[in-house]
Symmetry: C2
Subunit: 176 residues, 2 copies
Amino acid sequence: MKTKKNLYIYSMELDDAKQKFIQAWGTLGSNWGINRTMAQVHALLLISSDPLCADDIMEMLKISRGNANMNIRALIDWGLVFKELKAGERREYFVGEKDMWNVVRQIIKHRKKKELEPVLKVLSEVSDVDGNSQDKEDFLNVVEEIQRFASKADRTLDKLINSDANWLVSTFMKMM
Amino acid sequence: MKTKKNLYIYSMELDDAKQKFIQAWGTLGSNWGINRTMAQVHALLLISSDPLCADDIMEMLKISRGNANMNIRALIDWGLVFKELKAGERREYFVGEKDMWNVVRQIIKHRKKKELEPVLKVLSEVSDVDGNSQDKEDFLNVVEEIQRFASKADRTLDKLINSDANWLVSTFMKMM
DNA sequence: TTATACTTTCAAAAGTTTTTGAAAACTAAA
DNA sequence: TTTAGTTTTCAAAAACTTTTGAAAGTATAA
């Protein structure tokens, strides 16, 4: 604990801001189908200049060892967190991907594979339906409109994933 | 039940395709934080040329009255489903928004308000933190990078919401 | 007014996801 | 080897979300 009064006050406020940020990131994550704790671990590592070990994360977020381990593992899987070994230290340390553009890119990549691609597959399967009633034509029209939309999104996301930050910014500019 | 064999077979296949579509839409929805049943009701109405009443929906999706009612209500809230009254009929019928572009627009509008805007608010609150340590500067750098990203996304989504389908298509074209 | 046809509500039940923590597995050094 | 520090696993518990269905509410018509 800091002892000088002004340092103490400052420290509380920065910690409060960090806490608030971590909580907000957790809420955002869970709205987007990402486990709340996973998002919080990510937030904590984003704003930590130094690598943290599992015990640091457990203590700072007040979560169990199993929970910490599972979510760190998932973040490494998603390419949002990296292991960092310290010379002469046995325990593993972790750092977060700090470049927001890479963060967004990894998330898009993951969710596209998990969600958009299966939908495209189902759409093309159901387009294969037999018969020739009006009812079938109506159904196919709906499916085809969604297909047009979804393929466009799919191609656009591929471009995004394979592009760099400057490309994104210049595209944003063009859009406005 | 249809009695001619070919009609019967055709009917089964179209129904299978519709079922598959409804299930896929439900899965997509639940991956995106939208209740599975809500997405299924939406899918059912999307591919129904005629308006359906609560009992039709209950029967077709095999769900309870309460569940049907709640999810129809939520879809109306989101602007994805509309009430339609039939002359001389007491019960309410429902139709789905068929224009995919409007569907996507409504969803973006809803989620932007619910998710992006609160995050922007928190980001600007935490930027206000006191003190002047290196630690604070590092924290502010991360927050500010996210803010730049998030505001850009916010403005782009506003443009999207207020634009028409042709604008979207021409933007997609420019992007590629 | 009363009956009827419907819609809405909500508490309890069912289902799903997340978290815990203790035990097992691993790994490096003694 | 054996020990000690560490990570991983996983079954059970807790937390959270969704669904049910019966009861209450509402509106129309007889």
